[in-house]
């Protein structure tokens, strides 16, 4: 092997080990996959004073999954999980729509702001409940948030009295509509992602979140207020879900307590995992999560635009999800590499990429040991 080839091989390997490499590759592949079916997939036009096109609709409908997955990322980074986000979405939308639909003047801006404020306060209360249950009472996160997942939808139905509340407020419609030809949701998402990224990557907060996720007890002994950090991430997650609930009810023009945010927790967790954040906590990637949520939304748009029959939707989605999970699994890639190049792949342990690389309990300790190769890769 010549020196040049060796360098190239090493470059390629360090590229494939970048955290964002696989998710971005999948996203680009999914987008390109659409071209033969919809030739104008990448074209963006202006109609009725706002942008339209497949890419715009991916961003438009991506608002909810990205927002919810963003909050979920930080929760999962602390080793937790939040199953109640769908119920929180339903509660927040229900409160806002109830207040607006019962008011005399639906178009009053102060009314809309007040309704949104109250809805977000309720979401924060839900987040506080989750956070205290997990951090103070020490309940396992799945169980703690299962309570609100079950009861929260009931509470939302209680607020709407079991009806679908519709509202016709113009100022409220802006939230789920378009502002300056661009979907308002895009601005909201950019704002939330920017705030989260700056807070976690420009301050020590992200490091603290990761340390709590890595080992809550050790970080407490090291002087990190682990409980406070945990409560904070559940609050942030509920706030994201609350805003997503407001956006959802605004874009629909009403609140449906039964179906608002139904199964969004599953989508969000999937997006987080596809984005390279391991479910075991201790590590997270906000950019990965955004890409992961965009992958899921692109997949849904793709299913719609290439005209797969409605019944086959879920099977197609499941198959793609399974393929994505397998592609991200280091063990799967190692096995495939061994199959393709018998002999060559032996003694070449794969570095710490993928959702479950270094943190999952590995059954082959000898192979899982950090190799000199994986040390030189900047993470």
């Amino acid at each position: 092997m010549t020196a040049l080839a060796r360098i190239r091989q090493r470059d390629w390997r360090s590229l494939t080990r970048q955290q964002l490499f696989w998710p971005l590759l999948i996203l680009v592949a999914l987008l390109l996959f659409n071209l033969p079916f919809t030739p104008n997939f990448f074209s963006i036009g202006v109609r009725n004073g706002h942008l339209y096109g497949s890419l715009v609709s991916i961003l438009y409908f991506g608002t909810v999954p990205i927002l919810v997955a963003l909050g979920m990322t930080l929760v999962i980074a602390t080793g937790g999980i939040d199953l109640s986000v769908g119920a929180v979405m339903a509660i927040s939308g229900a409160i806002a729509c109830r207040l607006i639909s019962h008011a005399a003047d639906q178009n009053s801006v102060s009314l809309v702001l007040e309704a949104m404020g109250l809805a977000l306060l309720a979401s924060l209360a839900a987040g506080l409940f989750n956070g205290l249950m997990v951090a103070r009472a020490g309940v396992q996160p799945i169980v703690a948030t299962l309570i609100l997942m079950v009861a929260g939808r009931g509470i939302a139905q209680l607020i709407t009295s079991g009806f679908i509340l519709t509202e016709l407020s113009k100022p409220y419609g802006v939230l789920g509509g378009y502002a300056a030809t661009v979907p308002t949701g895009v601005f909201i998402v950019i704002g939330f992602v920017a705030v989260a990224a700056v807070l976690t990557r420009r301050t020590a907060l992200g490091l603290l979140v990761e340390s709590v996720g890595g080992n809550a007890e050790a970080s407490r002994l090291a002087g990190v207020r682990a409980q406070r950090i945990k409560v904070m991430v559940y609050l942030f997650c509920a706030l994201c879900a609350g805003v997503a609930g407001l956006w959802n009810s605004s874009s629909l023009g009403g609140a449906d307590a039964n179906n608002a945010g139904l199964w969004i927790e599953l989508d969000a967790i999937l997006a987080v995992v596809i984005g390279g954040t391991p479910l075991t906590g201790g590590r997270f990637s906000i950019s990965g999560t955004v890409v992961g949520a965009l992958i899921l939304q692109t997949l849904k748009t793709t299913i719609f635009t290439i005209g797969i029959p409605a019944q086959a939707n879920m099977v197609f989605e499941a198959v793609v999800v399974i393929i994505i999970c397998l592609l991200q699994s280091t063990d799967f890639r190692r096995r495939v590499a061994r199959l393709l190049r018998p002999g060559a792949a032996r003694g070449r342990p794969v570095g710490p990429v993928g959702p479950d690389g270094p943190t999952a309990p590995d059954q082959r300790p000898a192979q899982a040991a950090v190799s000199p190769e994986s040390v030189e890769i900047p993470s």
């Binding site: 080793g79 999980i81 249950m133 009472a137 020490g138 309940v139 396992q140 996160p141 799945i142 169980v143 703690a144 299962l146 309570i147 609100l148 997942m149 079950v150 009861a151 929260g152 939808r153 009931g154 509470i155 139905q157 209680l158 079991g162 809550a216 599953l266 967790i269 999937l270 995992v273 479910l279 019944q311 086959a312 939707n313 879920m314 099977v315 197609f316 989605e317 499941a318 198959v319 999800v321 399974i322 999970c325 397998l326 699994s329 280091t330 063990d331 799967f332 096995r335 959702p355 479950d356 999952a360 309990p361 059954q363």
Partner: protein, 338 residues
Amino acid sequence: MTTAKIDARPAAPVPVWTRLLRDPRLPIVVTAALLVVMYAYGSYRYSFDQQVPANLLINNSYLIVAAVGATFVILTGGIDLSIGSLVGFSTVLTGLLVTKNHVPVGLAAVVVLVAGALGGLLMGCMIQYFRVPPFIATLAGLFLFRGLSLMLSKESIPINDKTVASIAQFHISLPGGAFLSVGATVALVVVALAVFVLHYTRFGRQVYAIGGNEQSALLMGLPVARTKIAVYALSGFCSALSGLVFVLYIQSGDPRAAIGMELDAIAAVVIGGTLLTGGFGYVLGSLLGVLVIGLIKTIISDEGTLSSWWIKIGTGALLLLFILLQRTVTARGTRTTR
């Protein structure tokens, strides 16, 4: 439990009540006690007759079967989100085989059970060999089986088969004038078998060992891979069986049946005192958990004036009550497992 002491001083005697409080089986006793209290309240307020406890078993038989499968998975520290979808898939498959293809009912049942077990096996392989987290692998299963059942049939398939109808209407009389359905009997047999397997067989001990510490189980030489895959296959089998019981209950194959049932099953397992981190819990606890949830539904529907969403709020409140109770009762005795 006593630990070996090196120094010669006699160990301070542990008071009886402290030992009782620290017993990890206490949550199950508490669940049983609450079940009795709730039942007493219900029978005082609505004058339950002797058929009410039997109906509790009959109406929740499918959930009991599914919760048994979920208990095995949760005992290994995993989770199975595909239960509801597999139940729906099983009802549709049964409906298609019996009404469209005129397969004998017995054969159709065998096919459905094998399909369920195979589905669980595939998810188990994904989890064990490719290290996909159980949450994600079974989530993919949730989408896959719901999608497959919608592909098989968009509409609900009524099952007008004579054999199915006669099995569904067959009653086993109990002393005192009450009766059990075939589904309820199946559920009780499944619970009994699960208790036997978990506590009296090698497989059961392996399940507990893996849930306690997978690494240790592996170093002890236990067949971790085989056991973990078997557990998911078992859960798939239980879901399929639950689907068959559900078919007897609704006498049709509905692709939208049992949506979200996995949450009921998991809630029942949690109320029954099984730790979601694995390694500790009892099948009988899950049975009690299902009965508690069923009793809430009975009481709320007997109340009549309460709307359906109070069932959700009530289940959530009860879940909260049980969890906090278990936490306060066992907080000092057991290690805080997260």
